[in-house]
């Protein structure tokens, strides 16, 4: 079966696109799938750092697109999971080095070799974003439970619909249960009320994520990490499994509301 192309994007920077890409990639590959993670953030690459593969880079995405190397030469094998691969972004170029058409062609070339192609999109709504979504079969929007991130996610969902790549699915990242319970943070239901799209994961704030990223060893590799477990659940949902949502926020009332919205498929 040819690979599915999943683009992870957000609009706003710093909400966890790269972390999500690395962790979902690790989770899918741990389950035995053949996965390639592609860093589309040309000029500001860091997926390689989060995955701990920085020192293995010889060729990058722009080298492939411009024909300086074969696709196979730019594929970096992960050091822990044999089925996990990375195509790093170029650091010395910018977004205009690649066009949406190049990305579609590259994805088509990789499809027969893999089960999943995960594309880490840059922040913003310009060329880099359009490069990242051009080949996508599925678009995942990452947002945080804060008003400005949700506003940008809303904008991105509109653009994804305009590119006829919708409906996008939502990852709500860095939820702090105690703040939600105090009413100081948007609850999942509040975010879904505005965005009205299908939820695919709720990831709790978890210090292990930062530590893991710094060590180049994504949290999904750590069986005890709460966030890692949330990312593994997202991977299972991508595979079509029905995985119940963990009660990240606590409190029956909220969770009841959330579950109701999920059943409605986000159609508010």
């Amino acid at each position: 079966m040819p690979a599915k192309v999943v683009t992870i994007t957000s609009g706003k920077g710093g909400v966890g696109k790269t972390t999500a890409t690395a962790n979902i990639g690790v989770a899918l590959a741990s389950a035995g799938a053949r996965v390639v993670c592609l860093d589309a953030d040309i000029g500001l690459r860091n997926l390689d750092v989060v995955m701990g593969l920085e020192n293995r880079i010889v060729y990058d995405l722009v080298d492939v697109v411009e024909g300086r190397c074969k696709l196979r030469q730019a594929l970096i094998k992960d050091k822990r999971l044999p089925e996990l691969h990375l195509i790093p972004a170029a650091q010395t170029r910018d977004k205009t080095a690649v066009s949406p058409k190049d990305m579609v062609r590259l994805a088509e070339e990789m499809r027969p070799e893999f089960d999943w192609i995960l594309i880490d999109s840059p922040a913003g709504i310009e060329r880099g974003f359009r490069n990242a979504v051009a080949p996508a079969d599925i678009v995942l929007i990452v947002t945080n439970p804060e008003v400005s991130a949700v506003r940008d996610a809303d904008r991105i969902i509109g653009l994804v619909e305009a590119e006829e790549k919708g409906p996008a699915k939502l990852i709500l990242n860095r939820v702090k249960p105690e703040m939600v319970r105090r009413g100081d943070m948007l609850a999942t239901a509040d975010v879904l009320e505005v965005l009205a799209i299908e939820l695919i994961g709720v990831v709790p704030e978890d210090d292990t994520v930062l530590v893991a990223s710094n060590h180049g060893s994504p949290a999904a590799l750590d069986g005890k990490s709460r966030a890692g477990r949330a990312f593994r659940d997202i991977a299972r949902r991508l595979n079509g499994e029905t995985v119940p949502f963990e009660d990240v926020e606590g409190g029956d009332g909220l969770f009841g509301r959330l579950a109701r919205m999920v059943r409605q498929g986000g159609q508010v």
Binding site: R151, R155, E163, V194
Partner: protein, 227 residues
């Protein structure tokens, strides 16, 4: 399809009027015109006037990409068809030649001698960054999220939550109204009047905003509120 297309310099870029005919041929003519003029179009912002041609977001998007390859930015699409304008707006393109924040002069709205349907109907969520401009009435079955914008010459009716910026009677009609099941816009304008939503949010009920005795007020929406 012969000869180059008419090109006009306007304040913010170049305006090209597209002829009738099959889209494929028209597009080829446009690209040939650009290629033939070399540097003239390099780095230019292009507005296309296409009257009542029906184009979707996919066609406009691929045209934008083809123009981008020629270092030309597609900036605005001028069409008399609301569906084409909506597709252009979804791609972040302008649909008028004025700047997007038309507050004082509303020359962006076509004069009344132009033909347009009395109302547009949209059944979807209007999201941040999306903008609907129509010289007649605007009816939305869905939510209008913060960051979205509706500018109408006539009434605005939202069967859902209204959280974005809305301007009814934009050409000066102070009899225009704005009605919504949940009326909490970031900013509400009717003709030259302007208001922001009050902070208090008790039980949500349908409301209609209108000009009464020189003031912009919101009242419970009870069907006959205008009279």
């Amino acid at each position: 399809m012969t000869g180059p297309l008419p090109i006009k310099g306007v304040r913010d870029g170049l305006l090209v009027t597209l002829p009738d005919g099959a889209w494929h041929d028209v597009r080829a003519t446009l690209l040939a015109t650009i290629d033939a003029r070399g540097d003239f179009f390099r780095g230019a912002r292009l507005a296309l006037r296409m009257d009542d041609r029906a184009l979707g977001a996919a066609e406009l998007g691929s045209l934008r990409d083809l123009l981008a390859e020629r270092d030309t930015a597609l900036w605005a699409v001028l069409s008399s068809l609301p569906s084409t304008r909506a597709a252009a707006a979804d791609l972040g393109l302008q649909t008028t030649l004025t700047s997007s924040s038309s507050s004082e002069d509303d020359e962006g709205l076509p004069e009344s001698e132009e033909e347009f349907p009395q109302a547009v109907f949209l059944q979807r969520t209007l999201r941040s960054g999306q903008s609907v401009r129509h010289p007649g009435h605007v009816v939305v079955l869905g939510d209008v999220n913060p960051g979205a914008e509706i500018v109408a010459g006539g009434h605005v009716l939202v069967w859902g939550r209204l959280r974005g910026v809305v301007h009814a009677g934009a050409a000066g009609d102070a009899n225009a109204t704005v009605a919504a099941l949940d009326l909490a816009p970031t900013q509400l304008r009717i003709a030259g009047y302007i208001a922001v939503s009050p902070q208090k949010r008790g039980t949500v009920r349908p409301e209609v905003a209108l000009i009464r005795d020189g003031h912009l007020v919101a009242e419970p929406w009870e069907g006959d509120a205008r009279r």
